[in-house]
Structures are given as structure tokens and as C-alpha cells.
Symmetry: C2
Subunit: 120 residues, 2 copies
Amino acid sequence: MKRSPEARLLPRLRVMRGSTILLGPGKADLLEAIGRLGTIRDAATELGLSYMRAWNLVQTMNDGFREPLVIVHRGGPTRGGAELTATGHAALTLYRELESEAVDATKKTWTKLRKLFRDT
Amino acid sequence: MKRSPEARLLPRLRVMRGSTILLGPGKADLLEAIGRLGTIRDAATELGLSYMRAWNLVQTMNDGFREPLVIVHRGGPTRGGAELTATGHAALTLYRELESEAVDATKKTWTKLRKLFRDT
């Protein structure tokens, strides 16, 4: 008898302004990958996004925040490289804090809800 | 000068089993609408879903829980009507609790993150 995988609770927190997502799970992952890999192209590849899509997500974030979250180096020795600004690091850290706070706060109720699922 | 709308934090909590969403924002809204309106068709219309789509969402929920969340009356005086079972009411209530717990727990960090957004 095939056993179903365990049920999980995923908090997908979205920061919306009007119909624009300023920050959400996908954008947070993109920031993290850019910070780690140092280029938008490599980050896009890792996340399975087109370069254009990743670039548009970065633009949306940069436009929505007081200071850009990502800076792209267009020339010089680091041409093509990208890095998170201090605001970019702060936004990513705060977003991950929101996620873990949401998970921690819901543990008790989640345990109650899980009992209603069909046995796995 | 046009002022942007205020940024909001939306917790979109997803209960996943494998790649199946057992319960999430859309399904919770559907349960709520079925409970209020008494038919899947009226609930679908209110939420802008096709009847088939709403029916499939109900089936996914009914299959994933220990007991069905929604019962459909196929004959008799309430033919075509649908109602939430006790488990359906419990699941919806617990899901709404998860949402409000997530919002409450993130208030402080959310206040910090908001300060990074461009002025509205």
C-alpha cells in the first residue's frame, strides 16, 4: 500500500501594494540566490526562471523599496555581476524572520488541523 | 501626485501533501462561500470560478481529509444543495485561526520591513 507523503504547512507570505507583489516567496528566493551566486543570470538559472523574468522581479523590488535591493555592475572588472545592497540583505532577513515567526506561531493549531487529514 | 496604496502583508498558508494543496486561501474561501450560500454553483459564481473548477477543489479537499468537508445533496427537497460537515466547519475555523496567528506573530517584524518600502 502506497503511503502518502506527510502534510506540510507552507506559509507563503506576500507583501502586496495594490496588485503588485513587492516581496514574496519567489522574490525572496531570488534575492537569496543573487546574494549567493553573484549574478542575476546564474540565480535565474538555478531557480528555473528566464533571465528576463528574473530581471523584471528585481526591477519590481528595486522600484518598491526606498533603496534598491540589488545593484547590477554594468562595467569594469565585475561587469555583469550583481549584489545585494544593505537594504537587500535587511529585506531578505526580515522576510525570513516573518516566515519563521508565522511557522512558530501556528504550531499548536497546525497540530489540531493535521488530525483531520486522512491517514498517511 | 498619485499616492500608492498602503502595503499589506498577506499570509497565504498552504497545506500541502506532496504536490497537492489540501487547503489554502482559495479552498478556504470556497468552503466559506459554500457554507454561506448553500450550493457549490453559487459559491463558484461568487468567487469567479467555473463550476467544474469549484467541484474539483471540493473533491480534492474531500479526498484529503478523514471525513468529507462538503456534502452535496443529490436528490430530495434540497437537491443541488451543498453544506459543510462538522469536519468542514472545523477545518475552516482552524485555517482561519492559522491565518490570524500568523498575522499576529509577524506584526513587529512587519513594522520593521515596512520602513524599507518607498514612501506611499
